[in-house]
Amino acid sequence: MPAFSEDQVIALAPDESSARSSRDLANPRKWVSYGASEKLIWGVCQGSGASPYQTCIDTGEPAFKCSCPSKKFPCKHALGLFLLFCRTQSTFEIQSAPGWASQWLQSRSERLEKKAKKKETSAESAPDPAAKAKRQADRKAKVDAGVADLSLWMQDRVRQGIAGLESRTYQFWDGPAARLVDAQAPGLARVLRQCAGIPNSGEGWQEKLLERFSLMHLASEGFSRIDELDEGVRQDLRSFIGFTVSQEELLKENGTADRWQILGQRLDLEDRLKIQRTWLRGENTKQWALVLSFAYGMQPLDVSLQPGCALEAELVFFPAALKLRSLVKTRAESALPLKSFVACATAEEFLEEYASSLSLNPWLESFPVALDNVTAGQTADGRFMIVDREKTVIPVSITDSTRWQMLAFTGGHSFSLFGEWNGESFLPLSLMKNGFFARLDQRLAMTNV
């Protein structure tokens, strides 16, 4: 059975209160009986109901089942049982599973088999190429229209001037954004929605807004001549606008095998969608890779990639001029802890890298940066700053809690830092000092220092 760490289990919890309740339930006193077999963990818990709840976990996925009436998934009983297992594995007697548990496992494997078969049959019946081409043409027409619409809207803004936009409501931005979503250009819609908050964000908002406009303008101009563009630029533009690439098809291609260092992770929340960005870098190829995973609403996030480890794996990259986004095709079961990571020596170096990456993909939003010999400290009047070894100040986007974490970990001494650069400021995600890797806790609300 693969080993799970406590942190990974807690990360599966749908919300804070589940995490807390599951810790309470990770107490052998709460369980009437429990045990484990090769693939299964099961337990019986006396809850507040009349009959005790039966909980079982399939450690393959992991997948959970519990007879309690809770709507949350995984419920606190399943999490508690899992936690208990991770902490005190030896107390779980290896025995054959009780009837209800093995029955669940059986019906589950039957269902999965059916699903796999269905997929095969649907893949075998190859999609009608004519229908596919028509769908693609329809979509392109919709996006063309949406992009043209956006272009006109932006020209209106520029004609009237962006001076009065602070007083506009959210609807002013959301209306055109919704139209873009209808036109199947969700990427553009996202950028437009980002603009909504800018006019009231303080001094210098006009510059920020112009930057966002220029990004959308490049995209709309580019899309109107998409067939004339280079392959790489075309792919980047398409993914920026929101065209997806079939992951199934992608996984069939050959990937890059290497020992990938997992350097950092960031969680974003858009509406009810959780987006997790995991950054990796190949030890030998020095290639950067971004793995995205999504979870909607109560779904648990993928916890298979933990920052601070190095993993032997094969990654396939999405087509792009600047290869970044990728999928994990195959991987070793366990990862080894990181002792050090490759990094730029100075800020100038990473700015150069960023500039050349930008020249390949002008719509690049987050760029991974690893820097050595960085110092974080506080001036006499209480300002927090991060400087590289040539005393260049790196503007950071940081919460209070991250600031104190960084000072606590580094004590004012130099360390290696990893984070994202967006052209304007740096978002620290992890650091390493004396062979010790620490992931910085980033809450979603940011304040600029």
């Binding site: 209106d156 520029v158 001037g161 500039a355 700053m385 104190w404 606590a408 004590g411």
Partner: protein
């Protein structure tokens, strides 16, 4: 950027109002912008502007240059002297910080006994707790280590947490005087404390110099800071200037300081007044037995409250009008007079022991006033013997008296209050129980378990829940392990007891994780 500014201006005002400026720039960007000019007519003004904006914004993003650091950082942290606690202990701490901050006390005690320090990643959370929770501060300080102390000095919210390892050798005295002159009030108070620690007379000198110009609130706080290094040398200033201050708070603060000096004029005046009010009865002629009998009839002393209120009493901080509806004027003055004197001096004057004093007060007509006065005096002078005696007969100031006692005295008082055949007064007993901040000895744990069992039959849910909650946190875990079996059926029935059992299990797990040998790790 020159062209950027022009561009922005046009975009802000709009192309209706503003012509597109001639944009120029160096190098490749300049060439591209020039190229736009030519194509401009076909594109329309807005599109041309947006084209230019795209070029300029992209160039700016790619060519961003960062400023250099010209200021100076605070010194980095000196090397660590203490070892961090073992990994298991660090994990337990993380868990406690998130779920069970009420169990932190025990973790800190165990960590201190292992000579370990809080791991770096938990330092911000621990410092935050220390800054808000005064009671935990003395437990947190020994576990901070060099890194923890260094970190605490960087955040103004946390500065009061860390104590210097060596008494202020790093900052020279001149610096403190500077801060005293120019800093904010809380910085000045801290600086004054440091100055008083090294040169008390200099401290008073500085304070006297600025006394007249200080704001009243500041006067009170600065005066409180002179508590450090208090001596008779300060008496003239306090008596002559501070006690006559216009503001009541300043006068009261001065009074408190003067009462700490047994030879100050205020203390002597207070004693004189008190000795006039409480007069020892002269032993009569006649034998020992006759005296004993007459003592029993008349008591050991007479009480003669003041007949009038004069300005001297006002100056010494005795309020004229009663704010306590239970006492009349004279009794009110009496209790205030008695409050100002150290009870030991009173006992010497009356030639009685502590027990005799308490008995005498309780049998007096002026019991209420005297109790209030002497109890408050006992709290001020930290007289634990009197505290125990007063706690045994219902006291209004039970909380303050209880806090004076050390842990074993507290336990014996509580054991007395929770005696099996004694009806429990929930208000007193529980308010005192909440003030016990140390881990219970096995003997006391037994007493409380007995009381808890008694509670079960009473069906008073709130009381039982409170007792169970506190028992979970403070009871001796080894004792619980030995009696757990007998409690099982009851525990399963009551949710409050289930929580208690879960807490006790968690504490045992914590101790195991930190590799503590069975037995008490020591009380606070």
């Amino acid at each position: 950027m020159y062209s950027k500014e022009l561009l922005l201006k046009t975009v802000i005002l709009g192309t209706e109002q503003q012509e597109i400026p001639d944009l120029e720039s160096a190098g490749l960007l300049g060439q591209s912008l020039q190229g736009l000019k030519g194509a401009g007519a076909g594109l329309g003004r807005e599109r041309t502007l947006l084209h230019a904006a795209s070029l300029v914004c992209l160039a700016e993003k790619a060519g961003r240059q960062l400023a250099k650091f010209t200021a100076a950082f605070c010194l980095p942290c000196p090397p660590e002297e203490k070892n961090p606690v073992p990994q298991a202990a660090a994990r337990v701490l993380k868990q406690l910080l998130e779920d069970r901050p009420d169990l932190l006390r025990e973790w800190l005690l165990i960590a201190a006994s292992m000579q370990g320090r809080v791991p770096d990643e938990s330092l911000p959370a621990i410092l935050q707790i220390a800054s808000q929770n005064k009671a935990l501060r003395p437990l947190i300080r020994p576990c901070l280590g060099t890194r923890g102390y260094w970190l605490s000095q960087l955040n103004p919210d946390w500065r009061n947490v860390g104590l210097p390892d060596k008494d202020g050798t790093d900052t020279p005295a001149a610096d403190f005087e500077n801060v005293f002159e120019t800093g904010r009030i809380d910085e000045r108070c801290a600086a004054l404390r440091e100055i008083r620690r090294a040169h008390p007379s200099r401290g008073i000198e500085l304070l006297r110099a600025t006394w007249g110009t200080e704001r009243p609130e500041d006067r009170t706080r600065l005066l409180a800071a002179t508590e450090v290094g208090l001596s008779m040398a300060d008496e003239p200033f306090l008596e002559e200037e501070a006690l006559d201050d216009r503001r009541k708070e300043v006068r009261m603060q001065a009074r408190e300081l003067l009462l700490k000096l047994p030879d100050s004029r205020l203390s002597l005046r207070a004693e004189q007044r008190a000795f006039q009010c409480l007069v020892p009865i002269e032993p009569e002629k006649g034998g020992f037995l006759a005296n004993l009998l007459s003592q029993k009839k008349r008591g050991l002393f007479t009480v003669a409250p003041p007949e009038e209120y004069d300005s001297k009493m006002l100056r010494d901080g005795i309020a004229a009008k009663s704010t306590d509806y239970r006492v009349g004027e004279k009794a009110w003055w009496l209790s205030q007079i008695v409050e100002m004197v150290n009870p030991r001096r009173l006992m010497k004057h009356l030639n009685v022991t502590a027990q005799q004093l308490v008995d005498g007060i309780n049998s007096s007509d002026w019991q209420y006033a005297l109790r209030q006065g002497i109890e408050r005096a006992a709290i001020r002078c930290a007289d634990s013997e009197l505290a125990v005696l007063f706690l045994q007969c219902k006291s209004e100031n039970a909380g303050g008296l209880f806090d004076l006692l050390d842990s074993s005295s507290q336990e014996s008082v509580m054991a007395g209050l929770f005696a099996p055949d004694r009806p429990v007064d929930y208000n007193t007993e529980f308010s005192l129980l909440l003030r016990m901040q140390h881990l219970w000895s096995p003997a006391f744990s037994r007493v409380m378990l007995r009381a808890l069992r008694a509670q079960l039959t009473q069906r008073s849910d709130y009381m039982m829940e409170t007792m169970a909650r506190y028992a979970g946190i403070y009871m001796d875990t080894d004792l619980w392990r030995s009696v757990e079996e007998t409690w099982l059926p009851v525990v399963d029935r009551e949710p409050a007891l289930k929580k208690m059992a879960a807490t006790l299990a968690l504490r045992k797990e914590m101790k195991n994780a930190m590799n503590v040998s069975p037995g008490r790790s020591g009380s606070s």
